[in-house]
């Protein structure tokens, strides 16, 4: 690991100033960053510890919404009675990720910015366009059974690893950030960038941007919502496919629905085509399956990951049936 200096400022402005000077990174829980530093993937010359900035809070927002400080520990957010009651999909998504030890340390801001677990990205002896632009992507012909089928490019097929972000995407969360020239709010839908020919650029953030909070707007029907994660062992593994769903059914008809897929794309994949297909339709297993199929028509699987199409179609049908009380 490269040697580094350390600072723990007490004000957000000071933290942003330090990182904006270059060769620096924010340190919150460090569960991903410290690991990447050990691997040589991240090599900051200065760590700016942001745990003294007062960013650890969960507050009710007007209209039954929620504001979550970026420094809130994942375990605290999942344990929050407000989250468990209003947004069970969010509590479930957080609890589906990592382990008890990691959730006690990892923060929600860091969760949004965690890096892909693509094995080529994490191995500095291998080419990777995301880590080392222009060096190539061995994953396309190599080990890619768990990589993207949606939204990828010829330059990068990495998936975003977060479970929490998939739930936040379904809930239309907004990310509040402080940048050198001021504060702004970025809807999660605009927060992540598809790789295209610049897979090294992952978000719409300024390089020195500090996430300060996440706003979750009110969504009354999210009281019936769920996160389903499919993985290669029962627990403590990244998803091979996942989905966040909330549905509002009245008299057997879908009034409204939110659906987001995880582990299928370089970003949390909001399934807007599927949502559109379902609104106003009878809630039925066929309709749920067809809606998933419509979203997945854009999938471009590679040699070893086409299984994800059937996997996520079946999981979507199951979860939506379960939430709407329809027999599969």
């Amino acid at each position: 690991m490269r040697e580094f200096a350390y600072a723990r400022p007490g004000h957000a402005e000071e933290a942003v100033r330090l990182v904006a000077a270059g060769d620096a990174a924010y340190l919150a829980g460090g569960t991903n960053l410290v690991d990447l530093m050990k691997l040589g993937v991240a090599r900051p010359g200065l760590l700016v510890d942001i745990t003294a900035l007062g960013l650890d809070f969960i507050a009710a927002a007007p209209g039954d919404g929620l504001r979550v400080g970026a420094g809130t520990r994942n375990s605290d957010l999942a344990a929050s009675p407000l989250v468990r009651l209003r947004y069970p999909v969010l509590a479930q998504a957080i609890l589906a990720g990592a382990s008890g030890q990691l959730r006690n340390v990892a923060t929600v801001g860091g969760n949004l910015l965690q890096r892909t677990r693509c094995s080529y990205f994490q191995d500095v002896s291998k080419p990777c366009n995301k880590r080392s632009p222009g060096s190539g992507c061995p994953a396309r012909t190599g080990e890619h059974h768990n990589l993207a089928i949606l939204g990828a490019s010829e330059h990068c097929i990495a998936t975003h690893p977060s479970d929490m972000a998939v739930a936040l995407s379904a809930l239309d969360a907004v990310v509040r950030v402080r940048e050198p020239d001021g504060e702004r709010d970025i809807p999660l839908a605009d927060f992540y960038l598809l790789p295209g020919d610049r897979p090294d650029r992952e978000t719409a953030l300024h390089p020195a941007a500090l996430i300060t909070a996440i706003d979750v707007p009110p969504l009354p029907f999210a009281r019936r919502s769920a996160y389903r994660k499919v993985r290669e062992r029962a627990s403590y593994a990244f998803a091979v496919g996942s989905l966040a769903a909330a549905i509002d059914v009245a008299d057997g008809v879908v009034r409204d629905v939110r659906l987001s897929f995880g582990a299928l794309a370089p970003v949390p994949w909001r399934a807007r085509l599927a949502e559109e297909a379902l609104r106003g339709q009878p809630a039925s297993p066929e309709a749920f399956r067809d809606a998933a199929a419509r979203e997945l028509a854009a999938a471009r699987p590679l040699r070893d990951n086409a299984y994800k199409i059937n996997l996520i179609t079946a999981a979507t049908e199951q979860v939506l049936c379960d939430l709407s009380g329809v027999t599969p």
């Binding site: 200096a5 050990k38 340390v105 403590y236």
Partner: protein
């Protein structure tokens, strides 16, 4: 503290004792315990947060010592396996691990015990898990499925899992 320096003086409070140490910023809690304080009960397994052998309690919560930089724990309370029990005075969780034969080689055991102690406190506080049927429920029924899920951050390469679950079940009674 100078921003340009790559080491700092840190006060680590471990098992109730304060230690003033000059540490390279790269030093993790795990390495500080083992290499600087001779507290070798905490084990290094994967060193990447994947195995749980380095689990210690930080201000009462279980964490992976290998991923927490020591510099960030200045003034916080660290509890290791040495702080939970001694060979003459075992912690109740250590006693049930012995009674249920919940180990073979024992390398993962300090991490398992620290993790289990903190996990039971999480259950007492009503924290749900990924297998809790309704996350809004305030009372957790700690059955074998719940214990397996909540302990999934601690691997045991000998495969003593069945007896680890039995031990924790007994401790929870």
């Amino acid at each position: 503290m100078s921003e340009a320096s790559t080491s700092s003086t840190v006060v680590l409070c471990v098992n109730g004792t304060r230690h003033r140490l000059r540490l390279d910023h790269r030093t993790t809690v795990l390495d500080a315990l083992r290499e600087h304080l001779d507290l070798t009960g905490t084990k290094k397994g994967c060193d990447h947060g994947q195995c749980g052998a380095c689990t210690v309690l930080l201000d009462g919560r279980r964490v992976n010592g290998c991923l927490v930089l020591a510099i960030t724990t200045d003034g916080k309370q660290i509890t290791t396996i040495e702080g939970l029990g001694t060979s003459g005075d075992l912690h109740p969780m250590q006693q049930v691990f012995v009674a249920q034969d919940a180990l073979q080689c024992g390398y993962c055991t300090p991490g398992q015990v620290c993790s289990a102690v903190a996990m039971l406190q999480e259950v007492q506080q009503g924290w749900p898990s990924a297998v809790t049927a309704d996350v809004a429920d305030e009372a957790i029924k700690l059955d074998g499925t719940e214990i397996r899920e909540r302990m999934s951050g601690n691997l045991c390469r000998c495969g003593a899992y069945a007896n680890i679950v039995a031990a924790i079940t007994e401790a929870a009674r």
